[in-house]
Structures are given as C-alpha cells and as structure tokens.
Amino acid sequence: MNQFINKNLYGDYGDKEQATGASGTHNTANEWPLWEVFIRSKAGLDHKHAGSLHAADAKMAVENARDVYTRRMEGVSIWVVESKYVHASDPFEAASMYEPANDKVYRHPTFYNLPDELTHM
C-alpha cells in the first residue's frame, strides 16, 4: 500500500526527517532550519498558525516572524517552533482516527428533545 502513497514529501508541519529519509533527493543541509510561526492576534485569543520561515536560531525566527507576519499589528505574541519537532496526525488514518466521535450525537445539546416552554436552558 505504501507504494501508492506519496508520503516522501513533508507536510505543512514536521516530519521533515522522515521526508528526506524516504526520498533522499531533497537536500536541505545548507538551509537555515524551517520554523512554524504561531501568532496571538490579541490578548485573550489563542496563538494560531500563521505560516513558516527559515531562521538560524529561535531568536532570529521570532524577529523574522515579526517582519514577515506582523507588519500590520497582526500580533501581540509570537511562538516559533522548529518544524521538525511538530508531529502531525496521519491524514490516511483520518477515518478511523475520528470514527469514535461519529456515533455520539448525544454530546450535542440539540440531541435532547425538550418542551418549547422550557426557558433559560
């Protein structure tokens, strides 16, 4: 089955080692490492993935992230993480991975049939 799946190219995030290991043709040895950038747009909100960039170290990654992703005050806080440290779920296993939630509609409030007269609930 593996031969049909083009997994030798790394994804949005992480698994770069696996990527180069499998294909062997993509030499990134001379490049500054790849980092994923997460930005909190304002206090009270989560950090959200904004994109990626290359930098020699974490400090440079944060500075570059400021210049590349927050030129219009898009952020009040930046996280960077080297892409190779991000582990991602496998899209080819998505069906079984998320299957347990499929038959549990009772987790949603709309599952319960209550009288219209009932208020404040």
Binding site: I5, Y10, D12, E31, G51, S52, A56, M60, V68, P91
Partner: protein
C-alpha cells in the same frame, strides 16, 4: 486503497470544494503544477522588488519614500509566504532559488521593463499591482490550502499598493503640464505589458483547462484580462489620461470594452530573456544570493556554537 481510489477520493474533494492539504494524497501532476505556479509567483514578488527599489532613494517626499519602502517590503513578504507554501509540496527553498538563478524558473515578464521616471512608480502600483490583484483574488479560493491561505494574506496587503500607485498618477495628472506628460508617458509604456501579465490567450494556454479542472485557476487568462481592461479604462478617464489603444471601444452588445491586438511577439521575446532588463534583474538576484552566503554561514555557525556551549553547560551541571 489503490491509486485508482486515491484519485477518486481526490477528485471528489476537488468537486465538493474541500481543500487539499500538504499531507493529503494528490496526483503528481497536480503537485508539479502547483510547485511551478507558486514558485514562479514567489519569484515574481521577489524580482518585483527591484524595479521599485530603484526609486526608494529618489522618492519626491518623505511620505512617498515611506510608502514605497513599505510597499517593497510587503512584496518581499509576499515572496516569503509563497516560498513556504511551495515548500509544503516538497521542493526546498534552495532548489527554488537555484531554478530562478539558472533561468529554469520564470517570473512575471513585467519586471523586465525599466523604471525610468517617478511616474513609473504610479503606473506600477496602479496597473501592475492592479493586474496582480485581478489574478490573485480568485486564488484565495484555490484548491490547495497553503496557497490559498498565503493568497488571503497577500490580497489583504495588495489593495494599498494599488491605491498608492493611483494616487501618484492622480497627483501627476493634476499637476503641471510636464507632470501630466510624465504620467501619460508612464501609462503609454506600462499599459500593454500590464495587459500581457494575464498570460497568453486561452487558445494558446494549454494548461488552463487542467488547472481549471483542479480548481487551481478559477478564471481563464482572457476573462481576467477583459475584467481588468473594463475597470482600468474607467479609472484612466477619471484622471484624464488616455489608454494607448486606438481600437479601444465600448461594445454595448458584449457589455465589455473591445481592444486592439496584443503584440505577443514582444511578450514571448521578453519571456525568453530578451526584455530590456532580464539580465540586470537576474544578475541582481544572483549577486544578492552569492554575496549573502557568508552571512548565512556565519549565522548558522553562531547558532551551532551557542547550542554546543549550552549542551556543554548542561552536561557539566549534570
């Protein structure tokens, strides 16, 4: 799953407008087409900094200088968003630079024209960024997730580019006779190359049908070109400039402007490397890359040294 069912699954996603993400299965040609398109797009943003960079030190006021600097910096940012989107498809940054520097990868031909007067800053913002926006807005819904997300970011930033350009043209057009002439001259030189930015006619664009099928492209070259001409001709009228096309005429029946023949020989000539500035642009990029090598190496060496020192400390402490 077999290749066949992977393909079916992919087609079904495309048909139901579900975005394709980097780790999903995709046909090799889809991947290749995207790598080509996104990297060319990235190269265009980066090379596109050069003609305008030419005027930063000579902008006529501090305001214009600050604006131009911000615009050129944005274009650098656009290049970076796009390079990293292309990297999610498995090509490395260095490979893309190499393709640019060896001439294997193309960039938009428009940037091979020179910027000889200040009015060119107006014409570029208004026409070149204007044409780019026409092209790019539909790409915010392109089928490949990282490309679409990069384009959303790009499009948010582009509208100021076009507005500042139009403002320059408007100011010149309302100025002295010489200034008005300068604005008209810039329009005369940039009009046709801008029209060509949309690429060859649909009949001569063999990849269009497949790209539309994959929802990479949303409109054909000719559709976008017509749309651009229709809106831009009206904008030119507003500031009293004349579009340099004697055949330009409103066609009531079509509800569009008819326009004269495009000089495709010129277009292909510039694509093939014989435009006025092809050599200069490529040289500038190669020099920047080669002369920057020691900076990249030094930064990496410094980072490794600090890492080693930190590890040393930790083993001693333990």
């Amino acid at each position: 799953m077999t290749v066949h069912s992977f393909q079916e699954h992919f087609d079904a996603k495309i048909d139901s407008e579900v975005m394709i993400e980097p780790r999903d299965w995709m046909p090799d040609d889809y991947r290749k087409t995207l790598i080509r398109q996104i990297s060319q797009h990235a190269h265009s943003e980066i090379v596109g900094m050069l003609p305008e960079g030419n005027w930063i030190t000579r902008a006529p006021s501090l305001r214009r200088k600050a604006v131009l600097l911000a615009k050129v910096q944005d274009e650098g940012g656009h290049g970076l968003y796009l390079y990293s989107a292309a990297e999610t498809l498995g090509i490395t940054r260095d490979e893309m630079y190499d393709q640019l520097h060896t001439g294997k990868a193309k960039y938009s031909s428009i940037f091979n024209y020179p910027t000889i007067t200040w009015a060119d800053m107006g014409a570029i913002g208004w026409l070149v960024d204007g044409a780019a926006i026409m092209n790019q807005v539909p790409l915010c819904r392109t089928s490949y997730g990282p490309y679409a997300r990069a384009m959303v970011r790009v499009c948010k930033e582009e509208s100021f580019h076009q507005r500042q350009g139009f403002e320059i043209m408007m100011t010149l057009a309302n100025g002295t006779d010489i200034q008005k002439k300068m604005a008209q001259d810039a329009l005369n030189r940039w009009w046709w190359p801008s029209i060509m930015m949309f690429g060859p006619n649909d009949a001569d664009s063999p990849h269009t049908a497949q790209s539309m099928r994959w929802r990479i492209k949303r409109f054909t070259n000719d559709e976008l070109r017509q749309k651009f001409i229709d809106v831009t001709v009206e904008q030119a009228k507003l500031i009293g400039l004349t579009v340099p096309d004697p055949d330009l005429k409103w066609n009531q029946e079509r509800g569009h402007y008819d326009f004269g023949p495009i000089n495709w020989d010129e277009f292909w000539n510039v694509v093939k490397g014989n435009g006025p500035c092809n050599k200069e642009r490529l040289e500038a990029r190669k020099n920047a890359w080669e002369n920057g090598a020691w900076v990249r190496d030094a930064a990496m060496a410094y980072s490794e040294k600090r890492k080693a020192r930190k590890e040393n400390k930790e083993t001693k402490a333990a």
